[in-house]
């Protein structure tokens, strides 16, 4: 290498944050220059990240490590440990980040507050990369919160719109509640291992003898479940999912980058990263199987009845994230310290495909909404004449989402079915297969509602501008072909112990088409098609009506959140009555505290 790896990593870490500081200062240069400067900067970041890929995805590769002394007083170091998983997530964040910024040059043209937009996007990319490449759990949490902050700020990007501001607050508070799990899990692990380093934790645990292992499990077991809570918030698993559909108030580019391709994957990432530790915990994989399966199913039902294009995509994202959580649940403790981490690989493989096709779908949806001016699919109709190129590109995304053979979503979904089938997990398998049926149904519904039929529009609709089309085309190629990376991809994961074997491309194709899971896929697609075809006759019975009614109100989860907020408010109102403003009453505080302290001291046995 002619450039030192350390230098590249330092640039990757620093460049986005420097951009965040600099971009707002360039306000005077005009929005257009800022946009293209950001394209350049994010392109550079992506380039640096991609430069590291060959070093990692090679036979017998070593992780790339670096260390920065951050807070020496308390011994907090910013350790960097880049392995296959880390570089892959970083590549997704920076690569899709770059494409989204490129797309934004046209899409966001003329919006107010663009310097803020681009600065936040750069901050987000930087924080996301740092989140995945660091080895220190505390720093993971630090950046975990920063991406949450970016998400909040970008959802509320249109600050003058009260609903956008409200959605931002909802997203921030809900994910914050999930984060409680993560931080407590991290600190519990620290109690057991006296280190924040993920690699040290894994090494200690795998090398421990039986006694030490059992001692450590006392900490690992609760930590595992706290980590799941953390992932639930960020990766929008039920019941902490309701912020994601509301987050669609954000500009579509933000939805594509943050709420489809990267940030929502942070939860999946942390579970995958920690799977080598938590796989030993009894019930941890099973919890993930059911959590993921149920989330996938419920979100798919909501997607089937959703009239709003972006919210539909959001529900579909939740559903697909459910698949990924499910896939991590396929990890297996074989006993005697042996583990099967194939599930981690499967989930990341699906994550790769999903990031690409979901970004494509969101950006297509953005282009459509941009030109039609509504998010309601029933008001779109018949766009295939006006936006033919967009239509074909979106069709690729839809087919990939639905899991139609040879499109990218198919391969990973098939792998998930195969995994569940192999371990004979019948109920979870049923959950994901039914989800597959519904996925095909809502994909068809979305496509036909938007592009087929007859639309009556007052104003003319234009085809997507070229800059945006280029981005869409790149992503469409990805949605067609990202699965081909399997050989390199699985090799990298195998080398770093996160997968069982390398899938050679030829074998992989033939295996997939001959496995029993392929039958399930075909079945799911067939049933999905039937479901869509007979949608009108299926709609009129009681149960369907009930599902439609409930699904459109988010199955009451929003009401649940509301009730909690109202409950807190009522407690506070009761409390407020004590602040009467009466001067005598202030002294009752003294008497009260006297009693409290007396009781506690008596309890301690002082008197």
């Amino acid at each position: 290498m002619f450039i030192d790896n350390w230098l590249i990593i330092t640039l990757i870490v620093l460049l986005p944050f420097l951009s965040f500081g600099i971009i707002p200062l360039l306000k005077k240069m005009g929005d257009k220059s800022i946009a293209w400067i950001t394209v350049l900067l994010s392109g550079l970041v992506a380039l640096f990240v991609f430069l590291l890929i060959p070093d990692i995805y090679a036979t017998g590769a070593d992780p790339i490590t670096a260390q920065y002394n951050w807070v020496p007083t308390i011994g907090l170091t910013f350790d960097i440990h880049i392995d296959a998983l880390a570089i892959f997530m970083a590549a997704i964040a920076s690569g899709i980040g770059f494409l989204v910024v490129l797309y934004s040059t046209k899409y966001m043209e003329g919006e107010k507050g663009l310097p803020r937009y681009y600065a936040l996007i750069m901050l987000f990319i930087g924080a996301m990369i740092c989140l995945v490449i660091t080895d220190n759990l505390l720093i993971v949490y630090f950046f975990w919160e920063i991406v949450g902050l970016c998400s909040y700020a970008l959802i509320s990007f249109n600050v003058q719109d009260p609903s956008a501001a409200k959605a931002g607050i909802k997203a921030f508070v809900t994910t914050r509640i999930g984060d409680i799990g993560l931080i407590i899990g991290i600190f519990i692990l620290y109690l057991g291992f006296q280190t924040f380093s993920i690699q040290d934790i894994i090494t200690t645990l795998t090398n421990a003898d039986t006694v030490a292992f059992n001692d450590l499990m006392v900490y690992v077991a609760p930590a595992g479940f706290f980590f799941i809570l953390g992932a639930m918030g960020k990766s929008a698993q039920i019941p902490l999912h309701a912020w994601l559909p509301d987050a669609m108030e954000a500009p579509t580019t933000v939805s594509a980058l943050i709420h489809a391709a990267t940030m929502v994957n942070a939860g999946i990432y942390i579970l995958a990263r920690m799977a080598p530790v938590f796989v030993y915990v009894n019930g941890w994989p099973t919890t993930l199987l059911y959590l993921g399966g149920i989330t996938a199913l419920v979100a798919a039902i909501m997607a089937v009845v959703e009239p709003d294009l972006k919210r539909l995509l959001a529900y579909s994202t939740i559903s697909q994230l459910g698949y990924m959580v499910f896939a991590i649940g396929l990890v297996l403790n074989l006993g005697n310290g042996a583990v099967d981490l194939q599930g981690v690989f499967i989930s990341q493989y699906h994550l790769l495909n999903h990031s690409v096709f979901k970004a494509l779908l969101f950006l297509c949806a953005g282009a459509i909404i941009h030109s039609v001016g509504t998010r309601n699919m029933y008001e779109m109709r018949g766009l295939k004449k006006e936006m033919p190129k967009t239509r074909w590109l979106m069709l690729i995304g839809v087919l990939a989402l639905a899991g139609v053979p040879i499109f990218s979503g198919f391969w990973s979904k098939d792998m998930i079915f195969a995994g569940a089938l192999e371990h004979e997990l019948w109920i979870p398998l049923a959950l994901v297969v039914i989800t597959g049926v519904l996925t095909f149904a809502y994909s068809l519904r979305m496509y036909f509602l938007v592009f087929e039929g007859e639309g009556n529009r007052k104003h003319a609709v234009h085809e997507t501008p070229n800059v945006m089309l280029i981005v869409l085309a790149i992503l469409a190629v990805g949605a067609l072909a990202s699965w081909i990376l399997i050989q390199t991809f699985s090799m990298g994961f195998e080398v770093f112990g996160l997968g069982t074997h390398t899938h050679y491309l030829g074998d992989f194709v033939s295996e997939t088409f001959t496995s029993a899971a392929f039958g399930l896929t075909v079945l799911a697609l067939g049933l999905g098609f039937v479901l869509y075809w007979f949608r009108n006759s299926l709609k009129n019975n009681m149960i369907s009506q009930w599902i439609i009614k409930w699904g459109r109100t988010g199955f009451g989860f929003d009401r649940l959140y509301n009730n909690i907020a109202v409950g807190v408010k009522e407690v506070a109102l009761k409390l407020r009555r004590f602040q009467t403003g009466d001067a005598n009453l202030n002294f009752i505080g003294i008497v009260l505290l006297l009693i409290i302290v007396l009781i506690m001291l008596a309890y301690q046995g002082v008197f």
Partner: protein
């Protein structure tokens, strides 16, 4: 001997403190409340005095001086209250609440 004095003084100190507390809890007149406060601090000073010794004298004198200043400040604020409302009844003075 010392123990007895200490206990009597502490006892009376507590009684004064309690009386003062009762006063500020129940009286509606600002001046009476300030008197209550003064009784409370006299209780504290009495508790101090009981322990005897040279340093205590110094402490007590300083403490009394501080009490006087606090009383002066309290009364000066009460003068301003009077200027605003022409009343010293605290039931009229609960505009800040919640």
């Amino acid at each position: 001997m010392a123990i007895e004095i200490v206990q009597t003084n502490l006892l009376f100190g507590f009684i004064l403190l309690g009386m003062g507390l009762y006063c500020v809890l129940s009286k509606k007149n600002l001046i009476k409340m300030v008197i209550g406060l003064e009784i409370m601090s006299k209780g504290a000073i009495l508790a101090f005095v009981g322990f005897g010794g040279l340093s205590v004298q110094a402490y007590v004198v300083v403490a009394i001086a501080i009490e006087a200043i606090v009383a002066a400040v309290a009364l000066s604020i009460i003068v301003n209250v009077w200027k605003h409302t022409k009343s010293l009844d605290i039931t009229d003075m609960s505009r800040l609440r919640g």
